[in-house]
Assembly symmetry: C2
Homo-oligomer: 138 residues x 2
């Protein structure tokens, strides 16, 4: 557990509970974004029983604080990954087996400025995921 995380929680008036430590530990063990059910399964496996509702509530809260990132692959559910210590990046998912890979790149910095000029929106985020077929499923 990083001190920086404890600090962010405190700044948000949040407590550092057993459940939160365990949830963050599960996320830190996984590089790739995982589902709520997978987080919960990880907790059970680590003998840290936490209600599924608590997992939902904490992931939402950690996302609000910017400690966790939500990723949607059009699967009908969200996936989550820790932000801390990782560069901004995107993903690709195989349409066959569902396998996910990190793509350590982002081509959108310049484009964001252009969009802000064109739309008068202030842009504060984007979702970019690729889809295709992995070598095994092709």
């Amino acid at each position: 557990m990083e001190a920086a995380i404890a600090k962010s929680l405190k700044a948000g008036g949040k407590k550092l509970t057993r459940a939160r430590k365990a949830i963050l530990a599960v996320l830190e063990r996984n590089t790739l974004p995982i589902t709520v059910a997978e987080v919960h399964a990880g907790l059970v496996k680590a003998k840290t029983d936490v209600d599924l509702v608590t997992v939902y509530r904490n992931l939402a809260m950690l996302q609000e604080l910017g400690l966790v990132n939500a990723v949607g692959f059009q699967e009908g559910q969200m996936r989550y990954e820790v932000v801390h210590g990782r560069a901004h990046h995107h993903h690709i998912q195989c349409r066959g087996c569902g396998k996910i890979l990190d793509l350590m790149l982002c081509p959108l910095k310049k484009l964001t400025k252009l969009i802000e000029e064109q739309t008068r929106f202030s842009v504060d985020g984007h979702a970019l995921e690729f889809f295709g077929w992995c070598p095994q499923c092709r």
Copy 2:
């Protein structure tokens, strides 16, 4: 109703039913991607009563045939837009009021090739949506 659409349906062994004409008409009236509930509401308003289940089934089918595009804004539901006659594009949604704008651009053609080389996936699609705050909500 475009002849091209009737042709695509026939090629897929699909019939050109009252429900399908009406669903496509509702989508064609909307430039921006709309929810299943909004499509259904549009049908009711046009005095073309079609069961919500039929809307779901047809949107899924039209998407398979490539006549309709599904867009996800992490709202817990999908939105749909017609493909026919429109250039490939992306969107931005306001985090305050939910308003959506079309962005008639796509910076990903070159990047896709690079990703295919790096990952050995064959890339056949991507999702790119921007988020921010519109002038009114800012």
